[in-house]
């Protein structure tokens, strides 16, 4: 191994959501310092929410992230409904699952096609890729568009949708809207199947490493909105016990917190979910995966893009299943009565588990909230992966090759930096 000294600096990371950079210092052939810098300004959401009424919450938390607003709405309404003791109807539960399928389709396809794929095909951007990969790109953008159409049907628009309320939905979609969507989703099934096979054929780098996967697990279905927290090293807890196992802390180089499980980094997101819940995917999804050389569970971090495509296929079939049984409800929501208390909500955002706790007073006004987004949770894992991947690749490669690999590693996690800097909370004392 080379023993030269070098410094790799990426001032601004391209093709990630939000603002971040990277600094790596190598001395005597060893990585001496490595920092994924997140410098997006803090936005103080948890402070703004204090004093707001419970019914304002879904519209406000949506603004934490333009790409995954549904995830924030879902974790929040679940937590608030648990405080009020609300029992929702099967129709509401199904429609929330459908809405979440829409967000997975939108976000996953955006990431696969516009953010991640150029790395594996040797381009700087998707528009550069368009000349040679026009059909693949159009296929991806049309699948992304279907996700947006689902969100729009239930929420009026795909960014910051307005349909979700505590207790259910403001309005039920008409049979006519549903029929049109069913036809479009059905027509897209072969495209989703082909997408999975295409991602598996991308010539992804061999990158087998040890990491802990964490995701929700539900006894009856592939997890989206509900479940217990599970890891592949024996964790199995209700979401209310999150704080007894996970710890967030502040590091100088990031305006987003880092998070550890039992003092160790861990992975959340599509690869973690597929690794832990593969058996619950529909048979046709698993058979399609088996036509490729990729197997789950996988410890190749670059199989994340395949896992994302697998979830695109799943979300499409799941949305279709729900819509094919669609019935107009008497009313799209249940009445709620505020009461004081503390509740928890945890759902699977496209980039991984999103945990909330809310404390409300007897009128339903927010006293306190804590929101732990997936990117905060993945940060220590990204840094651990960078160190591992660059050393495995060999530090004697050119600076440019090392920089590109480092950026590829980071983008593989689909970090959502705006989410991660929504607010930071003091959780740990200064060290030293």
């Amino acid at each position: 191994m080379s023993t030269r000294d070098l410094t790799i600096t990426v001032p601004v990371l391209a093709r990630v959501e939000g603002e971040g950079g990277l600094d790596i210092v190598v001395k005597a052939g060893q990585i001496e310092q490595l920092a994924l810098r997140i410098f997006e300004p803090p936005r103080f959401f948890e402070k703004f929410l204090e004093g707001r009424e419970y019914h304002e919450v879904p519209d406000i938390v949506a603004r934490i992230c333009g790409i995954c607003p549904v995830a924030y709405q879902m974790s929040a309404v679940h937590a608030i409904e648990s405080i009020f003791g609300v029992k929702t109807t099967p129709w509401i539960r199904k429609m929330r699952r459908l809405l979440y399928c829409g967000e997975w389709l939108e976000s996953h396809n955006l990431h696969i096609h516009l953010l991640a794929a150029p790395d594996f095909l040797g381009y700087k951007s998707a528009t550069e890729m368009a000349a040679q990969y026009s059909a693949e790109l159009k296929r991806g953008l049309s699948l992304q568009h279907l996700g947006n159409a689902i969100i729009r049907m239930l929420g009026g628009r795909s960014v910051h949708p307005v349909g979700v309320k505590v207790g259910g939905f403001y309005k039920a979609p008409s049979h006519e809207d549903v029929r049109k969507l069913i036809a479009d989703l059905r027509a897209a099934i072969p495209q989703a199947e082909a997408l999975v096979r295409w991602t598996a054929s991308l010539g992804l780098p061999d990158n087998h490493q040890d990491f802990v996967s964490v995701a929700l697990h539900h006894s009856e279905e592939y997890p989206l909105n509900e479940g217990d927290l599970m890891s592949d090293v024996g964790l199995f807890i209700p979401i209310s016990e999150y704080e007894q196992h996970f710890r967030e802390f502040h590091v100088p180089h990031s305006t987003a917190l880092h998070s550890l499980l039992h003092e160790k980094p861990y992975l959340v997101g599509p690869l973690a979910r597929v690794n832990l819940n593969y058996a619950q995917l529909p048979l046709s999804v698993r058979l399609n995966v088996e036509r490729t050389a990729v197997q789950f569970p996988s410890n190749n971090m670059f199989h994340s893009i395949v896992a994302r495509a697998v979830e695109v296929h799943f979300a499409l079939l799941e949305a279709l299943r729900i819509l094919e049984q669609y019935e107009l409800p008497d009313r799209p929501y249940v009445e709620v009565t505020p009461r004081a208390g503390t509740g928890f909500g945890c759902t699977e955002a496209p980039r991984g588990m999103l945990w909330h706790t809310w404390t409300l007073d007897e009128r339903g006004q927010v006293l306190a909230t804590r929101i732990v987004p997936p990117t905060s949770q993945n940060q220590p894992r990204i840094e651990e992966d960078l160190k591992w991947s660059l050393e495995a690749m060999g530090l004697d490669h050119s600076d440019e090759a090392l920089r590109l690999r480092a950026e590829t590693v980071i983008r593989n996690y689909d970090p959502c930096i705006s989410c991660a800097t929504h607010f930071l909370k003091l959780n740990v004392l200064r060290e030293g």
Partner: protein
């Protein structure tokens, strides 16, 4: 700008400041149209999409997000200098956005109370619209803006005309669409009478009240709406919170919030 199109493709940059990235999705969610846009104009700077040429002069710069750090204030001056047209997209860039709620509080105290290492956090005590620091040629309102707004702006500017500015009230569009009034028929605290149209009336069409994500329309009467809402039994602080949301730094709403805070 039409003269620039004779010999070369017009150039476009998309910049991000403090925000949720939601307005950039007006581009990234275009679907196949995104490829058409990339054909028609040369997108030289758009970090999220992989284009990084910050220092290249452009014909149109779209700016998302508000100014909430010293670095952002410096950066917007550089953007202004190298852009022929500077267009703000969304409530953060045009009115400070939701993070500007910190302007009503002691942001420094917030930072020190919530960060383990507050010295490492560099943030101004305010979040400001872009127009606070530099001249803005055009402001697109909305939290978030939609694809129609950005595409029609590009098209108008390429033809050398100023795009028509939507200033009408949401109420008017609601009537034109034949939408039943949720305020009159269901006593919902709708912000339609004081809100700029452009969203497509999505909230009343979802059977709910408008929460003014597009900000103030022209010639509005916030005082009158506040009184109407009080007559339906809403508390003054509840009404104030409806103005203190995504467009809380708009002068009309700042005034409405102040009036509601005064004792009667």
């Amino acid at each position: 700008m039409s003269h620039t199109t004779v010999n070369r493709k017009p150039t476009v940059a998309i910049h991000k400041f403090s925000s949720c990235d939601g307005c950039q999705l007006a581009f990234l969610n275009l679907g196949e149209q995104l490829l058409q846009v990339a054909d028609a104009v040369n997108i030289v700077h758009f970090v999220e999409a992989g284009a990084i040429q910050f220092d290249t002069p452009v014909d149109i710069a779209f700016v998302e997000g508000s100014l909430s750090t010293e670095e952002e204030v410096e950066r917007i001056h550089a953007v202004r200098q190298q852009s022929q047209y500077l267009v703000t997209i969304g409530a953060c860039a045009t009115a400070g956005g939701i993070q500007a709620l910190k302007n009503l509080h002691d942001a420094h105290a917030w930072t020190t109370s919530v960060y383990a290492l507050p010295d490492y956090i560099s943030t101004l005590s305010t979040a400001s619209p872009i127009s606070k620091a530099v001249h803005v040629d055009l402001e697109l309102h909305g939290c978030p803006v939609n694809s129609y707004q950005v595409l029609s702006t590009i098209r108008a500017l390429l033809f050398g005309v100023t795009p028509p500015l939507e200033q009408d009230k949401l109420c008017s569009e609601c009537k034109r669409l034949g939408q039943v009034c949720v305020m009159v028929t269901q006593q919902m605290p709708c912000m339609g009478p004081v809100t700029r149209t452009g969203c497509g009336v999505i909230c009343p069409r979802q059977q709910r009240d408008c929460y003014s994500c597009y900000g103030p329309a022209e010639t509005i009467n916030t005082h009158s709406l506040s009184q109407c809402l009080q007559e339906t039994g809403l508390a003054r602080d509840t009404i104030a919170r409806r103005f203190a949301l995504f467009n809380n730094q708009s002068p009309e709403y700042v005034k409405a919030i102040a009036q509601l805070g005064e004792s009667t």
